[in-house]
Symmetry: C2
Subunit: 132 residues, 2 copies
DNA sequence: GTGGCAACGATAATGATTGTCAAAAACGCA
DNA sequence: TGCGTTTTTGACAATCATTATCGTTGCCAC
């Protein structure tokens, strides 16, 4: 049987990725983060970066965004359901909450008899700094 | 100067793809559509299906959706800005309009000084038929 | 008709992500 | 601190949807 140990081990690599995410402002790709780690002299494999990010995402500790025609982007976020206002240029991100939107989505889905409702919502724009 | 011809030629292949899209209910992938065309005996290359779909999308005649971890999906839609309530199982789609959401997104972006605002929004669920 | 040029399509290339699996490292326990 | 078990790592190969090539085909304006 054995529902033994959840067994999530502390490794140098995991710490490095997590720490890096703590310092980043906007969203960044796995390959970006991997490159940054190498520049810092941290020795972490690309595969491990992908795996770690996926794990953190599954655990709800970071958010994933999949922009049109690009790689997946990751960012450490606050808890709870929220959405993002993201700068197309630099990735700077503002977390936004829209209770009205949430209820609207659920209501619309219910009206059409859809169950197990979820949604995705992202707002894109050019941030004050990047408008030049 | 010549603002000559938009030069969009009528071809058997383009007609076939467009016609097929007219009969489909929900969203379908390029590969799906290509397979359906072949079954009908239509001789259309996969590359052409991709190209045609992309062209139609650029022209605003069809909508594209990029579900998590899957291929791009295409569907012929009505004109104007709208969003989709999509069945995770069968792809059945309802077009929904949410003026309140549109203005909310613009307002939020403006409050933070973001310009050139756009957004993406999709609602997912299980349609009445697929709930069994 | 016919010539120019867009469209086609078989094929190769791309590129992010995932799978593989032997070697390395954690960690509970002695 | 040493050991065995189990997880994690990471170099490399594999996947797979999409895109780029580029010689051929065929639309269509004249
Ligand atoms: Zn910016
Ligand atoms: Zn929401
Ligand atoms: Zn359904
Ligand atoms: Zn909208």
């Amino acid at each position: 049987m054995s529902e033994s140990s959840a067994a999530v081990r502390n490794t140098r690599q995991r710490s490095a990725v997590s720490a890096l995410l703590g310092e980043m402002e906007g969203f960044h790709s796995a390959q970006d983060l991997h490159a940054m780690l190498r520049q810092r002299g941290e020795r972490v494999g690309l595969t491990t970066v992908y795996r770690t990010l996926q794990g953190l995402a599954d655990a709800g500790e970071i958010d994933v965004m999949r922009p049109p025609g690009g790689e997946h982007l990751y960012r450490r976020c606050s808890e709870g359901h929220h959405h993002h206002l993201v700068c197309r240029v630099c990735g700077r991100t503002v977390e936004v909450a829209g209770p009205a939107v949430e209820s609207w989505a659920d209501r619309v889905a219910a009206q059409h008899g859809y169950a197990d409702v979820s949604h995705t919502l992202e707002i894109f724009g050019t941030c004050p700094t990047c408008v030049r």
